[in-house]
């Protein structure tokens, strides 16, 4: 039986296995399941209902109109509901984890691709630079892209002499190391403090946005999803421009693309100098 159960269990999520196990145990306790044949039948029945997708065991609850429902039926319904809700919560949690894993994986893949492209670009640029500067035989070139930054590290033998502000006459310890901002692909001063501005509300300014010909708003598309990162919640704005209308007129896609204006209201006037955006789209976009 353990082998049979193990084989069965491998076909469904752990949360549902737990749910089935509870039902089988209760069947044994209340006498519904008395032997292996009945156990196997019950197991197969549950498995058939569940397959590998999280869904309620009892999708339909029969209720008799104008009649009193028994406490047994109430308890049974509540028990089923509890198991189903627990299953759903577990599965939703799993889905969020999977989405986060996929996102991290895709970020890594994007970074790897960028590194490869940057490496190729660097090699080509270096050769082009040398070809155009015929007076020179060696060149060092750095675009501060996602590659290794090409800096001298402080454990190098020459570091003691080099990390020095000779005009002020003072050494500069590692807290003064300028940093490579991989996203901006540039060398910047070290950041000593970052204060996030509080965004209180977000809206799409329809007066400055392209109107969709058909309503293609996704369900549960909440703009406030933009305000928390890495929570597995996103905001997607879709626009469908018709190519043919009901009169038979045909249209080309807008030459300048479609426009969306997002307005973020802060909690009063605040000083800001940095925007951090995490786009979630398969296509390139232009932001101004």
């Amino acid at each position: 039986m353990p082998r049979y159960i193990k084989q069965f269990a491998s076909t469904m999520p752990a949360s549902q296995r737990g749910q089935v196990a509870v039902l089988l145990q209760e069947g044994g306790e209340d006498g519904t399941i008395k032997n292996f044949a009945q156990y196997k039948t019950a197991l197969e029945e549950y498995a058939k209902k569940l397959e590998t997708v999280a869904k309620p065991l009892h999708s339909v609850v029969l209720a008799k109109a104008y009649a009193m429902i028994s406490s047994w039926a109430i308890n049974d319904m509540m028990r089923m509901a509890q198991l189903d809700v627990e299953t759903v919560f577990t599965e939703v949690d799993n889905i969020n984890k999977k989405i986060d894993i996929y996102r991290k994986l895709s970020h890594k893949m994007v970074k790897d691709v960028r590194d490869s492209v940057a490496s190729l670009d660097m090699a080509i640029s270096k050769q082009e630079i040398l070809n155009s500067a015929t007076d020179y035989t060696v060149v060092q070139h750095n675009t501060f892209n996602t590659l290794g930054d090409g800096r001298l590290y402080r454990d190098a033998p020459e570091a003691g002499t080099l990390f020095h502000d000779y005009r002020k006459g003072v050494s500069m310890n590692s807290s003064y190391d300028s940093v490579i901002d991989a996203e901006r692909e540039g060398l910047v001063l070290p950041i000593t403090n970052q204060r996030d501005a509080e965004i209180t509300s977000v809206l799409v300014d329809s007066a400055y946005s392209t109107t969709s010909d058909l309503d293609v708003d996704p369900a549960d598309n909440d703009l406030t999803n933009l305000l928390i990162s890495d929570d597995g919640l996103y905001w997607v704005h879709s626009i469908l421009k018709l190519a043919t209308d009901s009169f038979g007129n045909t249209f080309l896609p807008p030459e300048q693309g479609v426009k969306i204006r997002l307005v973020f209201y802060l909690s009063g006037y605040q000083d800001i100098n940095t925007l951090r955006l995490v786009p979630f789209t398969d296509s390139s976009i232009v932001i101004s």
């Binding site: 090409g150 001298l152 005009r167 933009l226 704005h237 000083d271």
Partner: protein
């Protein structure tokens, strides 16, 4: 994606987004309760939104549509205020020559942050360190030279004042020198004096030139007559062009006259007996903020450091 900009005070942020990429939908049937939304569902799912709710309950009947489907989305949008250190240093891994280096050139691409008046909020200084070695890897000597990276190096270069005296990183055309206190131009003779030996200071360019000390190395010193500790002093100037036929215009960078600045190029010569087999060149980029109240950051996008051998 991080977008930095000069500090602003605002109560709202407006993002204008343009999306030009679309998916063309063909033979898409649209009804009040669409039977066939597979295509859109697939698109939305790929965009990370499972399940859609489309349809007009009041629509009289099915509509046949062909269209262009655009999607734009974000996971996160945030705004912040970043403070930066007052200085930053970056030293490159060495550029190693296989012979004696005859000249070095730097081409840097960078942006300074600017305030609302368009004035720079920071300065950048480049220097090279040259380590010379003999054929047995013995260190013969080291030297440090300021090197130009771009023309904007000399716009509001910070005057690092020791006591009340500072000096320019490159020798200037006298007539091009402007000294500033907190971006307000000062008056020669009233607010500051000039010297090219660091000892004898003059209040007019005429007396400075008539009493010019012989180089090398050539340097121009600035004495602030009434220094204010909380102020930032800067200088803008044009470096003097090298003229090999005029000894007074010579841009020798060291006392031994083995390194000179010719335009933007540092050229090296070697005295007899100084048998250099190879050299290491380290580039140092030093960033300084000019606004201690609201520190921003310059950004160096790229540089190319060239060396020629002979």
């Amino acid at each position: 994606m991080v977008i930095t900009f000069n500090r602003v005070r605002a109560n709202a942020i407006i993002l204008d987004i343009v999306q030009k990429n679309y998916t063309e939908l063909v033979d898409f049937t649209y009804t009040s309760q669409p039977d066939d939304v597979t295509e859109i569902q697939a698109l939305m799912t790929s965009a990370g939104v499972p399940g859609i709710d489309i349809g007009d309950p009041d629509a009289p009947g099915p509509e046949y549509a062909r269209g262009y489907f655009y999607t734009t989305g974000f996971d996160y949008v945030g705004a912040s205020l970043c403070d930066y250190a007052d200085r930053g240093i970056y030293v490159t891994a060495p550029l190693i020559s296989t012979g004696r280096i005859s000249q070095v050139l730097l081409e840097a691409l960078y942006e300074k942050s600017i305030d609302q008046l368009g004035e720079p909020q920071d300065s950048l200084e480049f220097a090279i360190f040259k380590y010379d070695y003999d054929s047995t890897d013995g260190l013969l000597g080291t030297a440090r030279f300021a090197i130009p990276g771009a023309s904007q190096d000399h716009v509001h270069e910070e005057l690092v004042i020791n006591g009340d005296v500072s000096n320019l990183r490159f020798f200037p055309l006298y007539s091009s020198v402007s000294v500033y206190r907190d971006k307000t131009e000062l008056v020669l003779g009233t607010d500051y004096q000039l010297s090219n030996d660091g000892l004898n200071f003059f209040s007019t360019l005429a007396t400075l030139q008539s009493n010019a000390a012989a180089g090398p190395p050539f340097a121009l010193y600035v004495k602030i007559l009434y220094p204010v500790a909380s102020s930032v002093y800067t200088v803008s100037y044009t470096p003097l062009n090298y003229n090999p036929n005029d000894a007074t215009d010579s841009m020798w960078l060291n006392q031994g006259r083995t390194a000179e600045l010719d335009g933007d190029v540092i050229k090296f010569t070697y005295p007899p007996g100084y048998d250099v087999a190879y050299s290491k060149i380290f580039l140092v980029a030093l960033m300084r903020t000019l606004n201690y109240a609201h520190r921003e950051t310059p950004i160096v996008m790229e540089y190319s450091l060239f060396a020629a051998e002979n």
